[in-house]
């Protein structure tokens, strides 16, 4: 019977089905494992763009110690980072540099917009030199409001990002 089914015409279909089954059996746990690895090593690029960097520093202070969650560890090279936290105002002079930094990061990469200035321009909605939010230049994953946000809010935002990564397809971003 098996011999009847495995004609040269149907072999391709069977191999394809087998691949799908394998994908379902292994791919999902594998993706989960990959994502699990990603969420505990969210290392940010060391780029301060404005004053929110003060609270960013406070978040890694002994009081809040955000490295408990495996996120936001002070780290060196941007070629090995996968998170960019835009800490506040992006001016017209800074915007090309920010994009340049983002483009140099390896995939997958995530963006957190920290502070009112990064989300909508905040106080500087009518300034001549400030971008009205960073949506125009970077795809933002999580918005952390406040001016500046409390470290707790930043931690909450990072936990939201971990939650989001957990539910992402691991292989959609190669």
């Amino acid at each position: 019977m098996l011999k009847d089914l495995l004609t040269p015409e149907t072999a391709n279909v069977f191999v394809g089905k087998l691949g799908d089954m394998l994908e379902k059996a292994i791919g999902k746990p594998l993706g989960y494992a990959i994502n699990w690895g990603r969420i505990w090593s969210l290392w940010p690029v060391h780029i301060e763009t404005a004053c929110c960097s003060v609270e960013f520093g406070a978040a890694s202070s002994p009081r809040y110690d955000v490295e408990r969650f495996g996120i936001i560890e002070a780290f060196g090279s941007l070629r090995q980072c996968d998170l960019i936290v835009v800490q506040g105002t992006i001016t017209r002079k800074m915007a090309p540099r920010l994009r340049l930094v983002y483009d140099q990061m390896p995939e997958p990469k995530y963006v957190i917009a920290m502070g009112a200035c990064a989300i909508t321009g905040g106080l500087y909605f009518d300034s001549y030199n400030v971008l009205p939010g960073i949506d125009g230049i970077l795809p933002v994953d999580v918005y952390v409001p406040g001016c500046p946000p409390r470290p707790e809010t930043l931690i909450q935002g990072c936990l939201l990002l971990q939650e989001k990564i957990k539910r992402m397809k691991a292989r959609t971003i190669v």
Partner: protein, 209 residues
């Protein structure tokens, strides 16, 4: 943004013409009538030490200078742009002032002038530690500015007070006042591709205002 900035602002009404031509006899504004307490009008006498400083300058330069105000710890001098270099030199050598704390530009479109105000202080003379000498001069203002190559020019004070270097660069980019003799009239704060008029002029309107 560039389209907004071309049109002049409407809120600079000509009737409220801010001038610094107030005479030294006018009462200093430190004693202006408080809203809440002390409603009595008191007879104003000028602080003696500050008066002596302004007298020295007037004695030296006569009617080339104009004393704008004499308040507590502050002496205001207005000078025309031809004499500002000489006056500044006298302030350094004759009066012991040695550094510039702040250089601010103020745009007066109704006078067609841009004022540049130097706040000069002294570290080396203890008796002048509280004092600030406010030296104000005015540059001609152009309706359509081409920073660096129009008539909006002033002599630099950098060879007298070295500390004005970055301040004058800032004034150059924010107001378009070119400082003749300044070695480094480059852009400082604005983006490299800034092509609009200098932003702190009054006819540069910001979004939605």
């Amino acid at each position: 943004m560039s389209s907004d900035s071309a049109k002049p602002t409407t809120d600079s009404k000509p009737e409220e013409k801010p001038t610094t031509d107030s005479k030294p006899e006018e009462k200093p504004t430190t004693d202006s009538k408080p809203v809440v307490k002390k409603p009595e009008e008191k007879k104003v006498e000028l602080p003696a030490f500050e008066k002596s400083i302004s007298d020295k300058i007037v004695e030296k330069f006569g009617d080339k200078v104009e004393v704008a105000f004499v308040k507590k710890d502050r002496v205001g001098i207005n000078v025309s742009r031809e004499n500002v270099h000489d006056v500044a030199e006298f302030i350094r050598d004759g009066l012991n002032y040695d550094h510039v704390e702040s250089v601010s530009g103020v745009d007066y479109p109704q006078d067609n002038e841009i004022a540049v105000v130097y706040h000069i202080g002294s570290y080396s003379d203890p008796s002048l530690a509280r004092q600030l000498l406010v030296l104000s001069t005015r540059a001609q203002r152009e309706e359509n500015p081409i920073p660096g190559s129009d008539a909006t020019r002033l002599p630099t004070l950098r060879d007298i007070f070295y500390s004005v270097e970055f301040h004058e660069r800032e004034i150059f980019e924010m107001f378009g006042v070119y400082f003749e003799g300044h070695p480094d009239n480059r852009r400082l704060l604005l983006p490299e591709d800034w092509a609009d008029i200098p932003p702190l002029r009054k006819d540069f309107a910001i979004k939605g205002r």
